[in-house]
């Protein structure tokens, strides 16, 4: 007899839907069906049961092929690599639980590493902007219950966060929004005519790379000042119209993504979008929310924040936490040959980093912890498979609006497979042993940085 697990959290994207239902076999080992998830989420569950799933660690050989090794071997190799390194990069963390992240931080502190997560190529620019100008925001339920104007700027939720519009932003009938999407206006700003833009009431197809200028023009319009005829390819009349729409909303919200976080200016684009939102609070109620990608990149930023005080790119090598994107970010460390080992867990830099960085990882001592075979595992010296968080082991995850939700275990992991937390804990304990036996180089003991 099959049984159904309800209220399951989907461990894929920052939308973190928590209404999934998963039908599993009676013995708790097979996933039979997934309900309510989008196609991507359903595949995350179903694919975990693929017949060619790797179940044991694999070590790269001289000839480039991989040979299976034991978890004990994997722990030893990883511990030796991290203990010997002078400045190991410990990257990823976005597709695992907060518990695992926390153990990873203990390990990073013990080896004086740099902890960085996928924000470094994603919403890191948003985090930098928030550090410069703050952020007026709200939870997704506020959008559901109050919003009558929704702006999607530089993001395409139809593809990247498929259930966002139906669960939170456009379609739901909330407490003050009984008319659902009929009571909401949608503005989409993007250089492309995306599937999301096709749904919009107002689509502004701006000149690529000029979002900063267009956002600035909105602020000029709010202040009743003159605009040039055209800004970022948009005629000024349409800019004034959009500004009026936003000012006259009862409760507006801007959602934004990679279109602005990773195009020219990066953090400055988000910075000025936040200032647009702040300006609008003089006329009405407006909020802005980042469309976080990985299902727990927000969690990684949260745990890093309360334990070390920074949301990503955190350098622990000197005995106190330091942070400066451009210096302590993964791609800069790799580009500048400033790290001498790479440990990746819960993400795929092999696929997402510039190829020049990927080449560096390929030539450094490297370990990749991932249930799947990925471009990252195929250039790392050791690949350690682990159980899927949210499918085979539970753990806390943070949604794009920072709301923490506990993900569930739905099925048993394959026989003998470790979890992230277990693997990290064993590596940590072995590193502590190694450090106690033979201090490799002198640990930094200075009291203050500089005079």
């Amino acid at each position: 007899m099959a049984k159904t697990v309800t209220d399951v959290i989907c461990p894929f994207c920052g939308t973190l839907c928590d209404d999934l239902e998963v039908q599993v076999s009676d013995d708790g080992t097979k996933i039979l069906e997934v309900y309510n998830a989008c196609a991507i989420g359903a595949e995350k569950f179903l694919h975990s049961q693929a017949k060619d799933r790797i179940t044991r660690p694999r070590m790269q050989q001289e000839d480039g092929s991989y040979k299976e090794v034991s978890y004990d071997d994997a722990v030893e190799y990883t511990a030796q690599m991290l203990a010997k390194a002078k400045k190991p990069l410990m990257y990823g963390w976005s597709s695992t639980s907060c518990e695992a992240q926390s153990v990873g931080h203990e390990l990073a502190e013990a080896v004086g590493g740099v902890v960085d997560n996928t924000a470094t190529v994603c919403h890191g620019s948003s985090l930098i902007a928030i550090q410069d100008v703050g952020i007026p925001s709200c939870t997704l339920g506020e959008v559901k219950n109050r919003a009558d104007l929704v702006v999607f700027w530089g993001c395409n939720p139809s593809h990247a966060h498929p259930r966002h519009l139906s669960r939170y932003s456009i379609f739901p009938r909330g407490f003050f929004t009984g008319k659902g999407h009929k009571g909401r206006k949608m503005i989409v700003v993007d250089p492309r005519n995306t599937d999301t833009m096709k749904m919009a009431d107002v689509g502004l197809q701006l000149e690529q790379g000029r979002d900063y200028e267009l956002l600035s023009a909105l602020r000029v319009a709010f202040r009743g000042e003159d605009l040039p005829d055209v800004v970022a390819g948009i005629p000024k009349e349409r800019i004034y119209e959009a500004a009026e729409m936003m000012k006259n909303a009862r409760f507006g919200v801007i959602f934004f993504g990679m279109g602005v976080t990773q195009s020219l200016g990066k953090n400055h684009n988000i910075d000025i979008a936040i200032m647009v939102t702040k300006d609008l609070n003089e006329f009405t109620k407006f909020s802005i929310i980042a469309m976080r990608g990985h299902y727990n990149v927000t969690g990684s930023g949260a745990v890093l924040g309360w334990q070390f005080g920074f949301p990503f790119a955190t350098d622990l090598s000197r005995g106190f936490a330091r942070y400066n994107p451009g210096e302590t970010t993964s791609n800069d460390l790799l580009r500048r040959d400033e790290c001498d080992a790479v440990f990746v867990l819960g993400s795929d830099p092999g696929a997402h980093f510039p190829i020049s960085s990927v080449k560096k990882i390929a030539h450094l001592p490297s370990v990749a912890v991932d249930p799947h075979i990925t471009p990252t595992t195929e250039i790392s010296k050791l690949h350690v498979p682990v159980a899927f968080v949210g499918v085979e082991v539970g753990g806390c995850c943070y949604r794009m609006d920072n709301v923490p939700i506990e993900s569930r275990k739905v099925v048993e992991p394959p026989e003998g497979m470790m979890t992230d937390t277990d693997f990290l804990a064993r590596v940590r304990d072995r590193v502590v042993e190694l450090k106690a036996q033979a201090p490799v180089g002198t640990q930094s003991t200075a009291e203050a940085q500089g005079a």
């Binding site: 502190e109 703050g134 909330g174 909020s287 309360w306 005080g309 003991t445």
Partner: protein, 571 residues
């Protein structure tokens, strides 16, 4: 477990009434006892001051707005230092918003053994507990916020006392919370539309209930349940010149109610960070202290307890569930503003603030905070806080103590302000000669807050049977000592024992001890109406499902300390 004997120190304990006599304090198995065997480990406290562990009644140290504060202020951690007390201590950082490890170590080093997180948004309760779990040494609890909660607004509008009480009990369990916190009642729901409630009679948009009705309803529900703590309130109109009147209006809402509980609590209202609510004048130009009007009322009304919210004159970070106030503040100082409105529940705002001694208003705020304590007739009802980090970091408590205990020190500060003349003429401080004594300090930071929290049997005192939280400070109360000696001694305790385990010695952390998380488990009669309302609101209005809301699990609360309350009744 072990036996300890803290020998021959000058003991100040309001619970046993010891006012500086040389006494021994005996500890066995985590409790204060009358005496111990000769194999007890002896700590020689000769020439030093001995008190119970201090009790923090209100600080923002764990949760989403605290963490947003950390993450959005990298500059708060610039030029960190490596401080490694022992192989078991973790990296520390942050001045106005310390990391969780630093929070635990810093409080412990000052001799604080219990810290209450002042405001927990229930939707984010899991986050608050994760941070408390990662805060070493100190026992902690958190106060969920109720004053802008949709369930509460609807039930109180309809005068449904039992339903309100049942919902409170349910939410305390779901969030593993400790007390009923009320922040800017009604005004923060209004803020979800960009509005506010600035007086106790301003109706909340749509819900059409006033702050006065909300506060009175919550007092009634709190006493109906018999909770350990009273309602803990941050009144409307915080921070505005002339707001002392709103504060008095709020205090008066508690008149006529009697405290009902089995925990020894006597107050029906605790008002927090009163400094921010004691302003006269009607603009920043004629801004002045109304601490006298406030304390006249507090002194005459034993159903009230307060904490001060002292300004420390630092660059710090303000953060509060009073969302509209933070928007107002950023309009004034143009510094980076973070805000989060939380569906059905509350909001939070964050803005950095520089309390410069060169700014007249900041200096007046500083004076007001001290005046409140110096005018308090009953130190068991007036506690010392900085509303950390709003008026300053909690690590400045020893400096506040210095200013309260040494007129010379505070006059030195008062007379060297850039606008000293205007500050002195707008406040009362120059004319106050009182110096808080060591015994009164123990009342204001130990016995008083413990009693107000309903924890008088456990914390804040050195009576046999109480938890063995004992602190030795390197200062001889018989003198001579300077103000700076006070600050130094209370910053780095010589010896701190928590629940019978030594955790700090000579200002260094030596053990993580055995931290507990306090929460209140209130049992009420089954209430089908409330459960139906809860299910409906989760289905229709929340963005998470009901089954995913409650905080459960050992990894959030590894060492729970549930305070049981039986509020059931014969039907």
């Amino acid at each position: 477990m072990a036996e300890y004997l803290i020998k021959n120190g000058f003991v100040f304990d309001p619970v046993t009434g010891v006012k500086g006599d040389r006494k021994d304090v005996a500890i066995r198995d985590g409790k204060i006892v009358d005496s111990v065997s000769s194999s007890a480990k002896v700590y020689d406290a000769s020439g030093k001051t001995v008190m119970a562990g201090a009790v923090e009644v209100h600080a923002h140290v764990a949760g989403p707005k605290v963490n947003e504060g950390r993450n959005y202020r990298p500059e708060d951690k610039l030029f960190g230092t490596r401080v490694k007390d022992s192989k078991d201590t973790r990296m520390t950082g942050g001045f106005s918003i310390p990391t969780t490890f630093k929070t635990g170590y810093s409080y412990a080093k000052m001799g604080y053994t219990v810290v209450m997180e002042a405001a927990m948004p229930p939707l984010y309760a899991r986050h608050v507990h994760e941070e408390m779990r990662d805060t070493p040494i100190i026992d902690q609890g958190a106060f969920p916020v109720f004053g802008n909660n949709w369930f509460v607004l609807e039930y109180l509008k309809n005068n449904e006392l039992e339903n309100t009480a049942a919902y409170i009990a349910w939410l305390l369990r779901a969030s593993k919370g400790y007390a009923v916190k009320v922040v800017n009642p009604g005004g923060t729901e209004a803020w979800a539309w960009g509005l506010n409630c600035l007086s106790v009679n301003d109706p909340v948009p749509y819900f059409d209930i006033t702050p006065a009705q909300i506060v009175k309803g919550l007092i009634e529900a709190n006493e109906y349940l018999g909770l350990p703590h009273s309602i803990h309130i941050h009144a409307n109109n915080l921070g505005n010149p002339g707001n002392f009147q709103t504060t008095l209006d709020t205090f008066k809402l508690a008149e006529g109610y009697k405290a009902n509980n089995k925990f020894g609590r006597e107050q029906t209202m605790h008002h927090t960070h009163v400094q921010f609510h004691s302003y006269g004048g009607d603009n920043w130009g004629n801004f002045e202290s109304k601490a006298d009007a406030i304390m006249d009322y507090v002194n005459a009304n034993p159903n009230l307890t307060i904490d001060t919210g002292n300004v420390t004159l630092d660059e710090t970070t303000t953060m509060t569930a009073d969302g509209p106030f933070e928007h107002h503040l950023t309009e004034l100082n143009h510094l980076k503003w973070a805000n989060v409105d939380v569906e059905l529940e509350t909001a939070a705002g964050i803005v950095p603030y520089v309390y410069s001694p060169d700014i007249k208003v900041c200096a007046i705020q500083w004076a007001i905070g001290l005046e409140l304590a110096l005018l308090a007739k009953d130190p068991m009802r007036c506690f010392i806080t900085t509303d950390h980090p709003n008026a300053g970091p909690f690590t400045r408590y020893p400096r506040i103590m210095k200013w309260l205990m040494s007129k010379e020190s505070r006059d030195e500060r008062l007379n060297t302000f850039k606008h000293a003349d205007k500050v002195i003429s707008s406040t009362l401080l120059a004319g106050l000669d009182r110096e808080i004594s060591f015994y009164e300090l123990a009342q204001m930071t130990r016995a008083g807050p413990a009693k107000a929290l309903g924890l008088a049997g456990t914390y804040g005192g050195l009576a046999p049977g109480m938890d063995a939280d004992v602190v030795v400070y390197d200062i001889n109360p018989e003198g001579p000592f300077t103000g700076d000696d006070i600050e130094r001694a209370f910053t780095d305790a010589s010896y701190v024992i928590k629940t019978g385990v030594p955790v700090v010695q000579d200002g260094r952390v030596i053990s993580n001890g055995n931290k507990r998380t306090l929460w209140v488990d209130a049992k009420v009669n089954e209430n089908a109406q409330v459960m139906r309302d809860v299910e409906e609101k989760f289905l229709k209005y929340y963005s998470v499902s009901l089954k995913n809301y409650e905080v459960q699990g050992h990894h959030y609360i590894p060492n729970p300390y549930a305070i049981e309350v039986d509020a059931t009744s014969e039907v």
